[in-house]
Structures are given as structure tokens and as C-alpha cells.
């Protein structure tokens, strides 16, 4: 009987708290209107919230003490001081609001990075008014923040560095733009959530030798070289064959250089998922990324073969970006093209 009763009561309570949380959530949604935005956002009064800080509450308490002292000791000048401080404190609320109001913000282009690095999210702030803005802070939910001032009638590019922990798309999440200017008594803030995001490539593995040859080409890399026309010189890379070294250039004190032949452009290297030993997916992607970067550096035509995806060999910046993007997003669902 008793457990049943308890259960009943418990479930009732649960239902109650549930209703409360839902109400709370609804209120928050009504108040803050969470929405991912694109384009330019102008901070109007609907978007700016103000609450006293802990220091502000402490100051109010101090003023109350002072007022009691004034009354008790009949200090007329004390009333003057207390009211002066009180109204100054009150006016800082308007100052804090004004410090944020009518700012125009838009998200800028973000450069991709490798996992483990820092993404520099870019935001363009435009201050149209004739009023300088002081000590604004942009902060994400994990406490990474950047502080800046914006002079009157000027634009400012603000970079918020966020750590890129893993590959894939990285958004900023909900950002808070806030200020406690001028006295730190009031916290004025606005939530910003832009559709800006950064593509994070897999972290490149530690340096590894490139795969010796590609299964498809069937021939060694270097066998094909030397038959075709001389195409120019490039810097020596450890592992280049001795016959290729441009001895004449060395004699001219141009450093150690290697002759390149046009046949090399036809040289193909497959970065093949299936040739890798059985490792974790992420590990495989890291190795492929390392190879891809090295192959790109060496000017090799490389192709990328992943389960269900195959990018034919090529050597160009767009190809490099395409391959890195494929690696970054491999196996991740919900990825928009």
C-alpha cells in the first residue's frame, strides 16, 4: 500500500515539475527567442537584457547602509552623497544598454582548420552612431571569450578563437555579447547565434612514409620518370633519387634541386582506405590526411578512395580542398552538401 502511495505521489510530483520545466522553457523561448540567424543582426531593445551583477547588488546594499546612517545621524550631506551614488548607479543601467544598442553584427567567412587547432570565427561589428563602445565581450557557452572596443562610426572585425576538437562542422553555438560598462553594476547582454560554421579537417597523423605505389598504376613511381621532357626544377625532398639531382644548379650555388619531368604529372598515387591495416576509422582518416598533405606538397597526382567514395587522381588546390572536405565529413550524417 505504502509504496504504491509513494509511487503515486512521486509520479504526481514528477508531473508537476515537468509542467514547471515546460513552462520555464516556454518562457525562456518567448523571452530570448532562440533562433539561428544569417545576415546582419541589429541589436534593438528587444534583444538586449539587463540584470544587476553581484557587485551591483552589493553596491545597493552599501547604499542602503549609508541611507540608514544618514537617517540615524541626520547627515544632510550624507543624503546628498547617497542619492548621488544611487542615481549614478541607476544611470549606469542606461549606459550599459546604450553600449550595446544599435550595433550591427554579421558573421564573416571562417577558414578551415585541422582538428586540434583553433578556429578563428570572424564577426564584423559596425557601430553607426557617434558613440564609442567600450569593453564589449563576446563569449561562447564554454567560456572562451574576446574583449574589444569599437570606436564611433567604425567597423571592427572581431575574431573569436574557439578550439576545434574534432573533425566535421563546428558551429559557435549560442554566443553571448555582453558588457558591464561603465561601473560593472549591471550586466547587459544579447544572445547571438549565427549560421556561421567552420569545416574542421581530421587531425593529420604523425609523419609517415607515403604508400610506395598505387595498386592501380601497377608501376613504381620513379620508373616512369626521366623518359619525358624536362619540366623544371624543384627543391630537394628527402627520398628523391640521386640521378634526378640537378648537379649543375648545385654548381651554380642554387642549392640542392631536383629535375622534374613532365611525365611526373601523370604519376598517380591512390590514397586508399582499403589498403590500410585494420585501424579505427578516425585513425585511418588521420593517416589519409597526413598522406594527402604530403602528396600535395610533393606535387603528386593523388586520388582518394574511401568506402562508397572515390575521387580520381588530380593535383590542384580545389582537389586538395575537396579531398580534405570528404575526409572531414566521412561518415558524418546530417551533412548538408
Amino acid at each position: 500500500m505504502i509504496p504504491e502511495y509513494n509511487n503515486h505521489n512521486g509520479s504526481h510530483k514528477q508531473g508537476h515539475t515537468h509542467v514547471l520545466t515546460t513552462l520555464k522553457q516556454k518562457f525562456r523561448i518567448w523571452l530570448f527567442r532562440p533562433k539561428i540567424e544569417s545576415g546582419t543582426v541589429t541589436l534593438n531593445q528587444r534583444r538586449i537584457f539587463i540584470l544587476p551583477t553581484r557587485q551591483g547588488l552589493g553596491f545597493a546594499f552599501l547604499l542602503l547602509l549609508m541611507l540608514l546612517g544618514d537617517i540615524n545621524y541626520n547627515l544632510s550631506l550624507g543624503y546628498v552623497l547617497t542619492f548621488l551614488l544611487g542615481t549614478t548607479g541607476m544611470m549606469t543601467m542606461l549606459h550599459a544598454f546604450r553600449n550595446l544598442a544599435q550595433l550591427e553584427i554579421r558573421a564573416g567567412r571562417v577558414d578551415s582548420v585541422f582538428a586540434g587547432g583553433m578556429v578563428q570565427f570572424v564577426f564584423h561589428f559596425h557601430n553607426i552612431g557617434t558613440l564609442p563602445r567600450y569593453h564589449l565581450k563576446l563569449r561562447d557557452n564554454n567560456g572562451h571569450s574576446v574583449t574589444f572596443d569599437i570606436p564611433a562610426q567604425q567597423s571592427l572585425e572581431v575574431k573569436l578563437p574557439l578550439p576545434a576538437a574534432q573533425r566535421g562542422w563546428l558551429g559557435t553555438g549560442r554566443l553571448t555579447l555582453f558588457t558591464e560598462f561603465p561601473l560593472g553594476l549591471f550586466h547587459a547582454w544579447s544572445y547571438l547565434e549565427f549560421d556561421t560554421r567552420c569545416l574542421v579537417y581530421p587531425r593529420p597523423a604523425a609523419p609517415l612514409p607515403l604508400p610506395a605505389s598505387s595498386a592501380q598504376s601497377g608501376a613504381g613511381m620513379f620508373n616512369m620518370a626521366g623518359d619525358e621532357d624536362f619540366a623544371g626544377l624543384r627543391s630537394y625532398v628527402a627520398g628523391d633519387a640521386l640521378p634526378r639531382i640537378a648537379w649543375k644548379a648545385l654548381a651554380r650555388e642554387q642549392g640542392l634541386q631536383v629535375k622534374q619531368f613532365s611525365a611526373q604529372q601523370g604519376r598517380e598515387l591512390w590514397l586508399d582506405w582499403f589498403l590500410l591495416p585494420p585501424l579505427a576509422t578516425e585513425r585511418k582518416l588521420e593517416i589519409l590526411t597526413r598522406w594527402l598533405l604530403d602528396a600535395d606538397k610533393q606535387g603528386v597526382h593523388y586520388g582518394l578512395r574511401l568506402p562508397n567514395i572515390e575521387l580520381p587522381p588530380e593535383h590542384s588546390t580545389t582537389h586538395r580542398a575537396e579531398c580534405l572536405r570528404t575526409l572531414a565529413l566521412f561518415g558524418l550524417s546530417g551533412e548538408p552538401s
Binding site: S76, F83, L85, L94, L131, P182
Partner: protein
């Protein structure tokens, strides 16, 4: 967060500014300790050395608290509280580790300002407070803005304060005032600069330099004449040659208020009596003041055998009571012989010349009244002067005064008169209290200040009882008729400024005095009654605190709205191009010389035409045009381009 050195200097200056006014009444070792700590902190900020460890700070703190205990024997009270606060604020500076600590220091600084008002609330103090607040605000803004330069910080702080001033005025006028105090105060809460129950040469003249209010009186009906306004305080019986004291009061049958009607024989026809309300400022003493002679009092108090009103405990909060007094009376016509003997005793051996003079009067004159008149005539005819700064007296104070210096304040006259009477065998005693009062027509009440402190005499005459005699009136009738300022001749020891006859200096002094008076009346004296009177005069009917609060909120809302409009307007000022505005100014300069730019005319074409018309200014015109075009259309102007254009245009003269 590491606090930078400039911020620390700012905080140091804040603490220095708020504690500096206290320096002259703090203990010497506290001053020295605070100065050392501030200097040490400044050095640490300058050199970048680490802050002292906690144990050292704790040792210093405990040591100084111990020192205070030894010096004051307590940790409660105003003086010791202020000292403690200043010491803690100074020590907090040595513990500045984060922005939070800096905020604490700033709050402490604000609080220490208010403690200064215990000692002074004058106009210079108010000015100093404003300056200190500006420094505190500037430092506070620094704490929030980090790297911002001093000038914009100063501007932000000044704007904050200037905006707050009108709001403060609304609050000051309309905030419903409460009659303090709200709770019992420590013993030293009030500077007890009031009347004492001891009187020696110099004690009253010192007191009469104080403007502090002793009490306020509102009369029901017609107020008495000024020369009837004797506010009775301590009655002094015993004289040791220099100092008058109440003496022993043991085994005397006390006279009660309800019995007073018997002892005061209201036989005079014009003695209707007078009703009035006294609001007594706390003076830390047990006696109350009333018009001579009091018969009824609205609060429980004891009427002593010599017509003083005594409370059981000292008056430590403002006290309000209504009283009834008879202006014409006969007091204690039947006096106990023991009391009359007390009223005749004088210290033997002292003042032989005064005794001799009294003895001559006694033998040559027949009645006590004649002796009394002889003494008053003596004061009147022998060149006595009434002065605030009487010369020092030797061992025989009465002789020295009567026969040598002949310059004195009321205590000299009262003291020597009573001495002469006693020496001549007429029972007499000294009465201290206040005489007169300043009428305040705004509130329709009288203000009695410490400067109205007075001493007079009472002699006992058979059939008439105790009769008031004011010997001061014999030599300075203006004192009793018109008050102290009228009675003191210009040269009598008043400060330099007061003696100077330069007209502009005099008018400056009078203006300053008027200003101080206004300040005292309107700012410092803005209490519940004045607030009530002022608001009534401003047209508010039936003033209640609810009405005041509503009006206050409305006023504040209105002002904040106005300020908000002014402040937020600047947000919407769209690109007014400064370069274009400057260029238009340049065009106006040319226009005055008849070179008018046509509406369709571009800057370059206009310049070419202007150069043709005024070839001697070709360089300047081309230079300005080139700068303007670069600024407006090239889109890559550096920060120096605009000031350069401004300079070129302002210096351009035709």
C-alpha cells in the same frame, strides 16, 4: 586577472582622498601607519614586487586592532569605527589580487566619505566630496574598461556624475525624511559641544563661536519679547574662585512640577503664561531647557528645587516636548535657610578688593536692592567692555576682571556679579542657559543656537523670591535685545576678515556668509519640518510621505526618460560625413568673397574656377580640394587625413 599599476595608483589616490580629511582627528600612530602602508603599496606597484603574504597582513591587522583597543579601550563608537574603517581600507590595498578586491576598495572609499560628514558638512566639504567622487568614478570606470586612456575615462565619469545631479536633487527634496535616530547611538555619536554644568572664564565665549543648533521652539500664539527669552539650564551654586559648579544637592526637598504653582505666585495681572514646543537637539546631558519659569512639561521630567528640568537619562536623541511657562513670577519666596546659606558662600582669602568694594556698599546702602543697583551701575559706568576674547585672568579672577582688564563675556559678568552680591550678603546664584533665538519666518519657529549660550544671575530678595538679574544687559543691552552679533564691537577680537574695512572684501564676506547661511538652512537643515514647510509652499496640499514618494518616483521617471532620450539620440546619428561638413565650411568662406559654388558644380571644377578668380590662393585651394577628394572618394584615407583637412580649412583665410 592582474591589475595594472595605473589602476592601483588610482585606488591609492581614492583611499588617500577619502581619509585625508580625517587626518587631523585620527591618532598619530594611525596616521603614520596608514601613510606607511600607502607608501609601501605605491612602491610595490611601481617596482612590480609581489604583495606581502597573508600571515604578514593578518599580523598587521591584528596588531592595529590591538593598538586601537589599547588607545580607545573599546571597538565600538564613532571615532574608533572610523579609524578601523580607514585602517581596513588601507590594508585591503595590500591584498589587491583580483578585480573583485578593487571593487571592494572602491565601495569602502564611498563609505569612508560619509564618515567625514560626522565632522563637517560645510560647502568646502561638499566640493571636496564632489572632487573625490570624480576620482573614484574615474578609477571605477578604469576597472571596467581596462586599457582606456585617462581622458575618456575622466569624461565618462564626469558625464555619469553630471547626469546624476538632477536626479539627486529630486530625491533630496522629495525623499520622505524620517526623524532620526532609528536606534540608540554610541555615547560619542554627538559632538557634545553644548552647555556644560561647569562655568569658568572662557567656557561660554568658546561655545558662542559654534553655529550648532541647541534647540528649536515654536510658540503657540504670540511669542514673548526677545529680552524675555531666557532659556533656563543648569543653575550653579558653588564657586571655587575660578569655576562655578552646581554643588551638592543632598537632603534638599525637591520641588515638583505640580507644586510649582504654589511657589510661583502668579499675582501679576499680565502673567497669563505661554505655551510652546521645544525640539531639543541631543546634547548628551540630562537637563532640558525651558523659558523662565516653567510650570508644566508634556514629558516626564523632574523639576528640581532650583527650577531646573532634569531627565533621568541623558538626551541622546532629538527630543520634542511642549511646556508652559510663567513670564512673571515669584519664585521660592519661602526659601530654606540652608539654601540661602549656600547662596552666600564664597571662597575665603580670594578676591580681597571685590570683598572690600562689596563691604563698602553694604555699609553705605540700606537695602539689598540698592546693593544690587550699585553693582549694575558699577558695570555700566566703569568702562567695561563686552568681548568674545577677554584677556586671561590671574588667581583672583573676580578682582582681575573688576579692577584690571574690565573686558569680558557674559560668564565674567555673571560670575563677578554673583560674587559681589554674596560678598555683600545678598543670596545669589549663577544661572546658565540660552538667551534669545533667531526667528525663522519660513517655518515660523525660533532657532536657538550654541552661540546664544548665556549666563545670568539670580538674587534672592525677601518678599520677591528669586529675581533674575542680567548684568550683561547693564553693559551690552544689545546682547539681550538683538543678539550676540549686534553686541560685539567690530574690533573686539573678531577674525581679520571681519575687521577689514575694504568694501569689496566686506561684501565678499557678507555674500559668503549669506551663502553659508542658505546652505545651513536649506541643505543641512532640510529636516522633516523644513521639508513639510517647503513642499507646502511649493503648492503640495496635505503633505504625506505617500504623496512625497509618488512625486519622487514620478520626478525620477521623468528625468530618467529625458536623459534616456538625450543619451540614446546619439545612437541613431547616421553617417554625417565630417569631411563633407568641413568642405562646406570651406565653400562658405569662398562664398563670402563672392565665389559661389553652383549646385551642379563638382569639387574639381569649382576649384579650377576659384583658382582663376583668386590665383594668389591657388596652392591652398588645390590642396584642400585634393585632400577632400582623397578623403571622400579614394576610400583609403588614413587616420591623420581628417585632422589635416580640418587644419587646412580652419587656417584657410582669404
Amino acid at each position: 586577472m592582474k591589475l595594472d599599476a595605473t589602476l592601483i595608483y588610482g585606488l591609492l589616490i581614492c583611499i588617500l582622498l577619502v581619509s585625508a580629511p580625517h587626518a587631523d582627528h585620527l591618532l598619530l600612530w594611525v596616521n603614520a601607519l596608514c601613510a606607511t602602508l600607502l607608501g609601501w603599496r605605491a612602491y610595490l606597484a611601481y617596482s612590480g614586487n609581489p604583495l606581502p603574504p597573508y600571515w604578514l597582513l593578518l599580523t598587521i591587522t591584528l596588531g592595529s586592532v590591538g593598538g586601537l583597543l589599547i588607545s580607545f579601550h573599546t571597538l565600538f563608537g564613532r571615532e574608533v569605527g572610523v579609524t578601523l574603517l580607514i585602517l581596513l581600507a588601507t590594508l585591503k590595498l595590500l591584498e589587491l589580487r583580483a578585480a573583485r578586491d578593487a571593487a571592494v576598495v572602491i565601495n569602502l572609499a564611498c563609505f569612508i566619505i560619509i564618515t567625514n560628514f560626522f565632522y563637517s558638512q560645510s560647502i568646502p566639504t561638499a566640493m571636496f566630496m564632489l572632487a573625490t567622487l570624480l576620482v573614484i568614478m574615474t578609477t571605477w570606470v578604469h576597472l571596467q574598461t581596462g586599457t582606456l586612456a585617462l581622458q575618456p575615462r575622466l569624461r565618462i565619469a564626469a558625464v555619469l556624475l553630471l547626469q546624476a545631479i538632477p536626479l539627486m536633487l529630486v530625491l533630496f527634496v522629495l525623499f520622505p525624511r524620517v526623524q532620526g535616530p532609528l536606534w540608540g547611538l554610541p555615547q560619542d555619536a554627538y559632538a557634545s559641544s553644548g552647555l556644560d554644568d561647569k562655568m569658568s572664564p572662557g567656557s561660554l565665549s568658546k561655545l558662542s563661536l559654534s553655529d550648532a543648533v541647541a534647540f528649536r521652539v515654536m510658540f503657540n500664539g504670540k511669542p514673548p519679547r526677545r529680552n524675555q527669552m531666557y532659556w533656563r539650564g543648569p543653575v550653579l551654586w558653588s564657586f571655587d574662585g575660578r569655576t562655578w559648579t552646581p554643588g551638592r544637592t543632598a537632603r534638599v526637598k525637591p520641588a515638583h512640577l505640580d507644586k510649582l504653582d504654589d511657589s510661583i505666585n502668579a499675582s501679576d495681572n499680565n502673567a497669563i503664561g505661554i505655551d510652546y514646543t521645544v525640539t531639543l537637539e541631543p546634547h548628551n546631558k540630562t537637563w532640558l531647557f525651558a523659558l523662565e519659569m516653567p510650570t508644566h512639561l508634556s514629558i516626564p521630567a523632574e523639576l528640581t528645587y532650583d527650577f531646573q528640568i532634569q531627565q533621568k537619562s541623558a538626551v541622546t536623541s532629538r527630543l520634542r516636548y511642549t511646556a508652559h511657562s510663567q513670564l512673571s513670577y515669584r519664585a521660592n519666596v519661602e526659601e530654606e535657610p540652608r539654601q540661602l546659606r549656600r547662596a552666600l558662600s564664597i571662597p575665603p582669602d580670594l578676591n580681597p578688593r571685590a570683598r572690600q568694594l562689596a563691604a563698602e556698599w553694604r555699609t553705605s546702602l540700606h537695602s539689598d536692592e540698592a546693593v544690587m543697583r550699585a553693582a549694575l551701575n558699577y558695570f555700566n559706568r566703569e568702562g567695561f567692555q563686552y568681548t568674545l576674547e577677554p584677556p586671561l585672568l590671574g588667581l583672583n579672577t573676580v578682582d582681575d576682571f573688576l579692577f584690571e582688564t574690565r573686558k569680558g563675556f557674559c560668564e565674567h559678568y555673571a560670575s563677578s556679579f554673583v560674587f559681589l552680591m554674596r560678598a555683600a550678603g545678598v543670596p545669589a546664584r549663577v544661572v546658565t542657559g540660552y538667551q534669545g533665538g533667531e526667528f525663522n519666518d519660513l517655518g515660523n519657529y525660533y532657532i536657538v543656537r550654541q552661540s546664544d549660550a548665556h549666563a545670568w544671575a539670580e538674587v534672592w530678595l525677601s518678599e520677591r523670591g528669586w529675581v533674575r538679574i542680567d548684568p550683561t544687559a547693564a553693559i551690552a543691552p544689545a546682547r539681550v535685545q538683538n543678539g550676540l552679533a549686534a553686541a560685539i564691537p567690530d574690533s573686539a577680537g573678531l577674525p581679520f576678515l571681519a575687521r577689514t574695512q575694504l568694501p569689496w572684501l566686506r561684501s565678499l564676506r557678507f555674500n559668503l556668509d549669506a551663502l553659508t547661511n542658505q546652505w545651513n538652512q536649506w541643505v543641512l537643515g532640510y529636516n522633516p519640518e523644513r521639508q513639510f514647510a517647503f513642499l507646502t509652499r511649493m503648492g503640495m496640499e496635505a503633505v504625506t510621505w505617500q504623496k512625497m514618494a509618488l512625486n519622487m518616483l514620478a520626478g525620477v521617471a521623468l528625468l530618467v526618460g529625458l536623459l534616456a532620450l538625450l543619451m540614446l539620440r546619439r545612437l541613431y546619428v547616421r553617417n554625417t560625413d565630417v569631411a563633407q561638413a568641413l568642405y562646406l565650411k570651406f565653400c562658405r568662406k569662398l562664398e563670402k568673397k563672392g565665389i559661389v559654388r553652383a549646385a551642379h558644380e563638382g569639387a574639381q571644377n569649382f576649384a579650377a574656377r576659384a583658382v582663376l578668380l583668386k590665383p594668389q590662393y591657388a596652392d591652398a585651394i588645390n590642396d584642400i580640394t585634393a585632400r577632400y577628394l582623397a578623403l571622400r572618394y579614394s576610400g583609403q584615407a588614413d587616420s591623420g587625413a581628417l585632422p589635416a583637412l580640418r587644419h587646412a580649412i580652419t587656417t584657410f583665410k582669404l
